[in-house]
């Protein structure tokens, strides 16, 4: 488990972004097959993402990138490192 980010220099993961917050994907550290699929859906390092909202029960997230809205679980988002936009 990663701890919550405290400052701008600490690397954060996608699931830690607040609703409405934007960031840039730094890396996708899932198992290879999952990482490949996520990248094919556009979650590439260097891509800007915005967390739109969380589902009413807290999971999954709705994110927007490259003009597409995807829903993604926290369990995957946790492995996606982001840097501030």
């Amino acid at each position: 488990m990663k701890t919550r980010a405290r400052g701008h220099h600490t690397a954060r993961t996608l699931d830690q972004l607040a609703a409405g917050e934007r960031a840039v994907i730094a890396s996708v550290d899932c198992p290879p097959a999952i990482a490949r699929r996520l990248m094919e859906l556009g979650l590439l390092p260097g891509t800007e993402v915005q967390v739109i909202r969380r589902a009413p029960l807290g999971d999954p997230l709705e994110i927007a990138l490259r003009g597409v809205h995807l829903s993604l679980r926290t369990s995957e988002a946790r492995h996606i490192d982001v840097t501030p936009a």
Binding site: P32, L38, G42, A55, L57, L70, S71, E76
Partner: protein, 727 residues
């Protein structure tokens, strides 16, 4: 009309991302009626139709499932890849590909387009949803795309039908394949791929340029690729796996290196060809709607209210129409009854055909209304939000939001629902979803619920809803509850493990395409009516025979003797009672009656008598046959010559042995519970066999569901009696 001697028709495949509008285009080109809906993963099988080209030739059009990538992640994506690479022996690669992209979403949709263009097959890039793109002020320069991609590009709107003539013109022409490549493999990887390419067998169906993609597939294979295992030798695959593991050590990240390359090409391409207006007011309306529909509190509340409203209206709106059909049926029955001379033929027509088939037809309005709601919800994009809201709940039982839509389709019918599981990537999740899909109350159960609720549940208002509405909702809910329990148990035992990747696209809201809504409603109602005219008619005739013969029997003869005496005495009330007793005794003596009584001991603890037993047996053909069976059995089993409303008959049915009412509301509830849980549909079992490729699952399903049904009905009936509800 005479045609020039035909060459083999051109085979044209429609391809693209999920939800790009492929089936809408397919329907527009072929005049067929494939299911269309606003969520990804609607089409899961390839469907074919034909279309006349402007030059008089005929083309065979193939609608393929949507796919995100040529590296498949689910069974339906596998179909697409196999067809394209020529690995599917029964379907050679198409002569031409019509590649459909959503013009409002070029960046993402072009990814698969580039992969397919790289295959070097003739392809037309079709920019669909140009109406929506125009509305957003997007300007797309098709000439730039044509130049950069090396393929013809055309803008259309499949929903409005614009641009289709030009598309048909293009489809008749010979299109040169593109020679472009959009990704570079690093040289060490290229060497590995070249080496593997030598090991790909030379199949006539696999063109030279696709051999490299087969090699890449071998390298990326995780041992679950059936088509590869069939065509490539086991040693070659084992070598590929070894090479892949070596690559994992020496150059991590190689598995997705080509993805970035393609997206770079796309970013450059889109920057040059697309002119988007500043600001993202495209999202303003969507955001406003989503703020409400996926709100933390309102979201789930709206979901529940909406579903409740659907069931309520299925009842309320359909009622006047049902009464009308019911009245018409009885008028026809009585008219014919009076016109025909008494005898077996009249009995067949009035008690058999008109009572059986006519009663079934009264449920057409409910079927139509159910599908009206479902397809509006699907086509507007709400269903995808429902999946989003429900994912967390589904994950509690070990499934994901992906299972939600197949399960929801199962409310219409478990068969399309089970087929829709093909878009679920994890095999374990897919099988679990298949096993619980039949618990969703399908539309064939609706007539049974409707009949029993009409007969036994008083039409009283409770707050905002009526008692029948609540009861119906409760039956649907019971099915869901059973599904949850079974899924939970399966995911903890035989199908444990493998948390899958859950990513789902949330499409924009769209005004439902009324044409496709109308088509769905009409198709479904017609299907139901057609069944009434064929399967149900046939069963009704057979059943009438089985319930009418053999005639006579001791009990009947004794009663008839008594009747002669009573008739002589002129006691009319006694006469009527005797007529009913005779009819009932004759029914009990018939083939059907004997069979019913044979199984009676097994169902008596549930509160069902032998007459319901007959219905349970005929339900194996289709659940709604229960209704026509009851109509036939009770009309034959009553001395009345008029066709009676079945609800009334059931309410007043008498147990001839005790002389008391045969059925109480408790019987009705117990019977409904039985129908919620029991596995009675042979077609479902056949589909489960096909989709799981084994007899194990359908047999397990049959045993499990029927055991649950029996136990639950037993508990309801006996428990209810203990609590004093049996009277």
């Amino acid at each position: 009309m005479s045609r020039p001697p035909e060459a083999a028709p051109r085979r044209i495949a429609i391809l693209g991302n999920p939800n790009a509008g492929k089936s809408t285009l397919f329907n527009a080109l072929t005049g067929l009626r494939q299911k269309v809906a606003n969520y990804p993963g609607v089409t899961v099988e390839k469907k074919t139709g034909s279309c006349d080209l402007p030059d008089g030739r005929r083309a065979e059009i193939i609608d393929l499932p949507g796919s995100y990538s040529l590296q498949p992640a689910s069974p339906d994506e596998m179909v697409v890849r196999d067809v394209l690479l020529g690995l599917q022996v029964d379907t050679p690669p198409p002569d031409l590909i019509v590649f459909v992209v959503d013009a409002t979403n070029l960046e993402r949709h072009l990814y698969l387009a580039l992969q397919v263009i790289e295959l070097g097959r003739p392809i037309i890039l079709t920019l669909n949803m140009m109406d929506a793109a125009d509305a957003q002020g997007l300007r797309i320069d098709a000439a730039v795309l044509e130049r950069q991609l090396g393929v013809p590009v055309i803008g259309i709107s499949a929903v409005r039908g614009t641009g289709l003539d030009r598309l048909r013109d293009l489809m008749a022409r010979d299109v040169e394949p593109s020679t472009r490549h959009f990704r570079e493999w690093p040289s060490h990887l290229q060497r590995v791929i070249d080496r593997l390419e030598q090991r790909v067998p030379r199949l006539p169906s696999v063109p030279d340029r696709a051999r490299r993609d087969v090699a890449v597939a071998m390298l990326l294979d995780q041992g679950e690729d059936d088509a590869l295992a069939k065509h490539v030798s086991a040693e070659a695959l084992a070598d590929a796996h070894l090479l892949a593991r070596r690559l994992d050590e020496f150059s991590p990240g190689w598995r997705s290196g080509d993805v970035a390359g393609r997206y770079e090409a796309i970013t450059a391409l889109v920057a040059e060809a697309v002119n988007a207006p500043a600001g993202d007011h495209k999202d303003a309306r969507r955001a406003a709607i989503d703020r409400v529909l996926t709100h933390r509190i309102f979201g789930p509340v709206i979901f529940v209210v909406l579903m409740g409203a659907v069931f309520q209206s299925v009842f309320a709106w359909a009622q006047p129409l049902m009464d009308l059909i019911d009245w018409g049926m009885r008028a026809v029955g009585n008219g014919i009854g009076h016109a025909m001379p008494e005898g077996p033929l009249r009995s067949l027509v009035v008690d058999g055909i008109i009572a059986g088939v006519g009663t079934t037809l009264t449920f057409v309005p409910q079927i139509a209304i159910l599908f009206l709601f479902l397809s509006v919800l699907e086509d507007s994009g709400y269903m995808a939000r429902a999946a989003f809201i429900m994912d967390r709940v589904m994950s509690r039982v070990g499934l994901s939001g992906r299972s939600f839509i197949p399960l929801l389709s199962s409310f219409a019918c478990a068969i399309p629902g089970i087929m829709a599981t093909r878009s679920i990537d994890s095999r374990r999740d897919r099988f679990t979803t298949i096993m619980i899909a039949p618990f969703m109350s399908c539309s064939a159960r609706l007539p049974v619920y409707a009949l029993l609720i009409g007969a036994f549940v008083p039409n009283r208002w409770v707050g905002f809803v009526t008692l029948p509405g609540i009861t119906l909702f409760a039956m649907y809910f019971l099915g869901i509850l059973a599904a949850v329990v079974v899924a939970w148990a399966l995911k903890r035992t035989v199908l444990a493990g493998g948390l899958p990747l859950y990513v789902m696209e949330l499409p924009p809201y769209r005004m439902p395409a009324w044409r496709s809504v109308f088509i769905t409603v009409r198709e479904r109602s017609l299907l139901f009516t057609r069944n009434a005219g064929t399967v149900i008619l046939a069963i009704t005739v057979v059943l009438w025979f089985l319930a009418s013969y053999p005639k006579g029997g001791e009990a009947v003869r004794a009663l008839e003797a008594e009747r002669t005496q009573v008739a002589a005495a002129g006691d009319t009330t006694r006469l009527r009672a005797l007529d009913n007793q005779i009819a009932s005794a004759a029914l009990a003596h018939s083939f059907a009656g004997r069979t019913g009584r044979l199984i009676e001991p097994a169902i008596e603890p549930l509160g069902f008598d032998w007459r319901i037993g007959i219905g349970l047996i005929t339900s194996l053909a289709a659940r709604e046959v229960m209704v026509s069976t009851m109509a036939t059995v009770f009309n034959l089993g009553s001395g009345e010559s008029d066709v009676q409303p079945l609800r009334k008959i059931l309410r007043e049915a008498v147990d001839t042995r005790t002389g008391k009412l045969a059925y109480t509301p408790l019987t009705g509830i117990s019977l409904m519970v039985f129908y919620v849980l029991a596995c009675q549909c042979m077609s479902t079992l056949a589909v489960v066999r096909r989709e799981t490729n084994s007899w194990r699952w359908p047999i397990a399903m049959l045993v499990m569901m029927n055991a649950m049904a029996w136990l639950a009905s037993f508990t309801v009936y006996q428990g209810g009696r203990l609590l004093g509800y049996g009277a």
